[in-house]
């Protein structure tokens, strides 16, 4: 059975092992031990509702295989993108360059440095064991966060964003970075990416070119990479699009990957999930439809995929095994969303 729960300090080693095995990069997960431990500690305080963190909460969830205790994935939420600092993107825009006299009129694409997504609630730090990419666990891990948001709506912004990893060649080259960022940051993509996960964003303010960039001056591979997801991230993008996320005008400043946007209150999971009361478990409940079900608030939050049947009085019936796993009592309120 799979359960999504808040990351604990003990999970650090397992998370690192998982990250090392990933083909795709997760820029919001630090690679260095101590930074990862700090991030988990910060997350624990966020789950516990530490009032000092108000506005800067960052939640990190893990996907655990309960049969083996193995950590198979992570997913995160930053309550407010930038976490109190500017959050950088390029905004794609077009200027019309027209000459009446010469009969010319053409759009000229421009990338504007932007902080417009600062403060949005940001989904981040998503990774999953590659063997699980095509299973329901993938959806469980990604959407568990949204159930958490539905459950703790006041902690989060009205607008959501998620950055999808951009194009990277098999040799590791990032065309968008090589054509643009490299000239100004004077470092490899990996170094910049690492700094951005680890350091304050001050270095971005210091090194990023302050003026808009004409797309036509970038190399062809860089132009083609604008707003395009890495092949390994396309499934994530598709799932988020089913949730109601849309590609907008914003892209990542490093790899040009798309930033998806949505209104929090229109997300499918937020709209369709509903609180239900648990009835005593029954063995035959195995027959019910698979649902996402979350129990408890804050640091005791758990989310599972379970067959669920609805009783005549509108309460939820789930298999006993799940009840045991979740440690729930009959009569307890849970949050349920269809798969």
């Amino acid at each position: 059975m799979w359960v999504v729960r808040p990351a604990q300090p003990d999970d650090a080693a397992a998370i690192q092992k998982l990250a090392a095995a990933q083909g795709a990069r997760v820029s919001t997960l630090p690679r260095a031990d101590e930074k990862l431990s700090e991030k988990i500690a910060w997350s624990c305080r966020s789950f516990a509702g530490d009032s000092e963190q108000q506005g800067r909460e960052r939640f990190l969830f893990v996907l655990e295989d309960t049969s083996s205790g193995r950590i198979c994935g992570t997913a995160g939420i930053d309550a407010h993108a930038g976490n109190g600092q500017p959050f950088y993107n390029y905004r794609q825009d077009a200027l019309i360059h027209a000459s009446h006299e010469l009969g010319i009129s053409r759009p000229v694409e421009v990338l504007y440095p932007s902080h417009a997504l600062t403060g949005c609630t940001l989904l981040c730090s998503f990774m999953i064991e590659s063997a699980l990419r095509d299973t329901d666990a993938f959806e469980l891990l990604s959407r568990a966060r949204l159930l958490f948001i539905a459950r703790h709506r006041a902690l989060f912004s009205d607008d959501m964003a998620v950055e999808i990893q951009g194009v990277q060649t098999e040799s590791g080259a990032v065309p968008f970075w090589d054509s643009l960022g490299r000239h100004f940051f004077n470092m490899d993509f990996d170094a910049a990416d690492e700094y951005s996960s680890r350091l304050s964003k001050t270095f971005i303010a210091e090194l990023m070119p302050p003026n808009p960039i004409y797309v036509t001056l970038l190399t062809e591979p860089a132009q083609e990479a604008i707003g395009v997801a890495h092949p390994l991230a396309q499934k994530t993008q598709a799932l988020l699009e089913r949730e109601g996320f849309r590609t907008g005008d914003y892209i990542d400043i490093f790899d040009g990957g798309p930033a998806l946007q949505a209104r929090t209150d229109t997300l499918k999971t937020v709209v369709t999930s509903l609180p239900m009361v648990l009835r005593p478990g029954e063995e035959e409940a195995e027959a019910g439809a698979l649902c996402l079900l979350s129990v408890n608030d804050h640091d005791r939050f758990r989310c599972v995929l379970t067959p669920l049947t609805e009783s005549l009085d509108g309460s939820a019936i789930i298999p006993v095994a799940f009840e045991t796993l979740l440690g729930t009592q009959p009569g307890e309120e849970v949050q349920v969303a269809p798969l």
Partner: protein, 364 residues
């Protein structure tokens, strides 16, 4: 004899032939008869002071008196950018640095400017292939500095020249290919022509307004920013010898540099002096190397004339010349003329010991 004089209407055929032979790259003089005729007309109005001083276009012709035709021209635009908009890129530096990361990156950046607005430009230098010898190019170019100094109030204190940038033998400019073409959607020659015929509004309409970070351009384009066409190198050296320096501005199409100088600092101006004409019956051998000749101007606003004579014609307070030269300069015995070295490696009139006690041209 080769004499500088104001450009006239009957020079049109000669001028058109020269412009056609020069081909692309001479933005201010496209081979277009109608346009050239308008330029000549503008120049005439300027010399006759029929136009506002700031609208002045001073065009000089080099006449070969034996052939009776114009073999070269040069010009002064009293003020640029007053009617149309005068565009340049300023080549400047953007620094991005992070102390935390120990990164310090200098990025050459092109900023679109109109910085030369209201400044005097020396322009349109063109010399027939047959006459590219014996200091004729120097005469055509440098005669203008005497004019600028004698009539300072008509010009700005600072003057500049746009130098032709790098292009290949087919007229393709690497900077244009990497930058202009992407925004203008036309050939360099067409853009250059449109700009030359004074149709500059399309530049404002189509040119990118945000700064251009040079590292985003290919090496071939970056390499030519601020560089001159190889055919223009002698002209650049000549201006540098006069005290002109690159002012950080480049042409928006081909990246050719702008060089500028303050009039009072120009070498020809500093090293010139005035003498009274003395008509001499003695024959003068005018066929001397450029080093041994000096320019002599009649200091006339309306009917500016300049030719060259041997340096040894200069006497303590006079300059002697044959009657034919005085006629060509339209001066008489006793008139004050201005003298200046023709060649920078040549002897300067004021460096000859016999003249050290005499007054130099007063700086106005």
């Amino acid at each position: 004899m080769l004499v500088i004089r104001p450009l006239q209407e009957n020079d049109l055929d000669d001028l058109h032939a020269m412009a056609a032979a020069a081909g692309k790259g001479l933005t201010s003089l496209p081979a277009n008869r109608e346009l050239l005729a308008r330029k000549i007309e503008r120049a005439r109005d300027t010399f006759l002071q029929r136009s506002a001083p700031e609208a002045g276009l001073y065009m000089f012709a080099l006449e070969d008196t034996e052939l009776g035709r114009c073999v070269g021209i040069s010009g002064i635009e009293a003020r640029v950018g007053l009617e149309e908009v005068f565009w340049n890129y300023r080549l400047s530096t953007t620094v991005n640095a992070s102390r935390e990361l120990g990164v310090h990156v200098r990025t050459p950046t092109l900023h679109l400017t109109n910085d030369m607005t209201d400044t005097t430009e020396i322009c349109s230098l063109l010399l027939a292939e047959s006459h590219r010898k014996g200091g004729n190019g120097l005469l055509l170019s440098r005669c203008r500095f005497m004019y600028l100094d004698d009539f300072r109030k008509h010009f700005s204190d600072k003057v500049f020249a746009e130098m032709r940038g790098v292009s290949d033998k087919d007229g393709h400019s690497p900077l244009w290919e990497a930058l202009g073409r992407r925004f203008f959607d036309m050939e360099f020659s067409k853009a250059d022509y449109l700009s030359g015929v004074g149709n500059k509004s399309f530049i404002a309409e189509l040119m990118p307004k945000f700064p251009i970070y040079l590292p985003l351009l290919p090496d071939s384009a970056r390499a030519v920013v601020g560089r001159v066409h190889e055919n223009t190198e002698p002209a650049l050296r000549m201006l540098q010898a006069e005290g002109f320096n690159f002012n950080g501005l480049v042409d928006i199409f081909d990246g050719g540099p702008l060089v500028e100088a303050f009039v009072h600092n120009i070498r020809t101006v500093r090293e010139s002096l005035n003498r009274h004409v003395m008509i001499s019956q003695k024959p003068v051998d005018l066929d001397r190397p450029a080093e041994e000749r000096v320019m002599v101007s009649n200091r006339s606003f309306r009917n500016f004339r300049v030719t060259t004579l041997p340096i040894d014609c200069i006497k303590p307070d006079t300059v002697s010349m044959p009657q034919a030269m005085a006629d060509a300069l339209q001066v008489e015995s006793g008139d004050l003329v201005r003298l200046a070295p023709l060649k920078d490696s040549g002897r300067s009139p004021i460096q000859t010991p016999t003249h050290t006690n005499y007054q130099r041209t007063a700086t106005r």
